[in-house]
Amino acid sequence: MSEQWRISVDGRRCIGTGICAGAAPRHFMLVDAVSTPLAEQVTPDEAVLDAAHSCPMEAITVRDAAGRIIAPEP
């Protein structure tokens, strides 16, 4: 599959709740209490959207291959 998603975390917004690392441990981990994506490009996985939609700070952005934001919802 060439279709890949791109994950970014805004470290200034992140408050280290650990929600993303718990909901999608294959995609996020906390480094010094700040969420960090394990890989910036990933094969589409609902868990990534779950994590982005569950973040109270909306610190996680997921873009599709064309660069459109697919999470969080506006």
Binding site: G22, L30, A47, P56
Partner: protein
């Protein structure tokens, strides 16, 4: 070959360690963090458990997917109450947990909550105007701390505030341990669920711009959750959405009025309020004890012991928040504390859904009190204050104040 000595497990200690007479963390925590950071405890009901008291271990237990809440469903879960209450979203793991959580998470983001701030301040000011008109003295619990969060969560969900005489009483069932007899807890929960089911039916018929309508739509048009989940989720939001903040506002005010230097500091520097709320979240041990054990899904080495697969672990937020390896001078209330990664709202997938809402409400409550009642003080000697008992949370029955 040498025999590995089997570590002698000391008998499980009864837990919680002491009754909630003041908002002080149990003294044994400090000693345990130093000498026995993973200790065997026996809660009032259910099987024995490990108790984690160090900050790093608490974060691991709450944040690491090797520890499960869902596994508690089939076990005699360590708990504070004789009855097993349906855990709902608190007894789920990802991805089931996340499926439900993301339906409501949008309503509780920092961005959404910020839009509620002006209205929250308006409610706070109205309540204080009424309190000032009829006092001093006044009971801050009934005049201010209770109606403020209830009004906010009702408006957000779309629950008529006028119905609070019913649901506020029933909500106690969610945080009760021994304050209510088991049959009364069941009765209150049934009342609460029936009441919510009625609101769900109303919104299904005539949707409005509120969270209940949005959740009904998520169920009916997108089949995202079951009817039982829908009702339990809303009941949980309504109850958790106010029981905790209702309790924390008086706890915070108590903490400040018994630390007059800090209260004065806040008066002269109100820009410190957000920082003060974080420090008070750290310093006030809201939970009487900890519960909601996580079950190890595999053997995990943590805090110097090996937790075997299938064993439950309880994580003490109150102890973690006083861990001297993370917080300098941890027992001191310091509103200017710079480094404060407290766990007052928990950690991991079950991190408090309403954390941003609670932060905003607590900030508004303190700001309104400082503006309107700078001379606020206790109306009775501190020793006369009565603390609630038989609940999961530590709080004041009444908080008599004058100004």
């Amino acid at each position: 070959m040498t025999d590995t000595p089997t570590p002698q497990l000391s008998p499980a200690r009864p837990y919680p360690f002491s009754p909630p007479v003041r908002p002080d963390p149990d003294p044994p925590y400090a000693q345990l963090r130093r000498t026995q950071p993973m200790v065997r405890v026996q809660l009032p009901y259910g099987e024995e458990a490990w108790l984690a008291t160090r900050y790093a271990d608490v974060r691991t237990v709450l944040g690491d997917p090797r520890f499960s809440r869902a596994a508690s469903v089939d076990r005699d879960e360590p708990r504070m109450t004789p009855q097993r209450v349906d855990g709902g979203i608190l007894a789920m793991d990802p991805p089931e947990h996340t499926r439900l959580r993301r339906l409501v998470a949008r309503a509780f983001t920092a961005r959404r909550v910020e839009q509620l701030r002006p209205r929250t301040r308006e409610i706070a000011d109205d309540l204080l105007t009424r309190m000032i008109d009829s006092g001093p003295p006044a009971d801050l619990v009934t005049a201010f701390a209770t109606p403020l969060p209830i009004t906010v969560i009702c408006e957000l969900l779309g629950v008529p505030v006028a119905d609070q005489d019913g649901f506020h009483v029933w909500s106690e069932a969610i945080v009760s341990t021994t304050s209510l007899p088991p049959e009364r807890i069941r009765e209150y929960l049934d009342n609460l669920y029936a009441y919510i089911a009625g609101l769900v039916a109303e919104r299904r018929h005539a949707p409005r711009d509120d969270l209940i309508s949005a959740l009904v739509e998520a169920r009916d048009q997108r089949d995202k959750l079951s009817e039982t989940e829908l009702v339990q989720l809303i009941a949980g939001l309504l109850a958790a959405g106010h029981e905790t903040t209702v309790t924390q506002i008086p706890n915070f005010v108590y903490a400040l009025l018994t630390h007059p230097d800090e209260w004065e500091r806040l008066k002269s520097a109100p820009q410190l309020i957000p920082n003060a709320v974080e420090e008070l979240m750290r310093w006030v041990p809201l939970g009487v004890g900890s519960s909601f054990p996580r079950y190890a899904l595999e053997d995990v080495d943590i805090g110097g012991v090996r937790v075997r697969a299938g064993e439950p672990v309880i994580a003490s937020l109150s102890s973690a928040n006083r861990d001297e390896t993370v917080f300098a001078d941890p027992d001191r209330l310091d509103l200017t504390r710079a480094v404060n990664p407290h766990l007052g709202f928990g950690h991991g997938v079950h991190h408090c859904l309403g954390a941003q809402l609670a932060r905003m409400e607590l900030q508004v409550a303190l700001a309104a009190l400082l503006d309107r009642l700078p001379g606020l003080r206790l109306a009775v000697p501190e020793a006369e204050l009565a603390w609630k008992s038989g609940l999961l949370v530590r709080g004041l029955r009444t908080l008599p104040v004058t100004w």
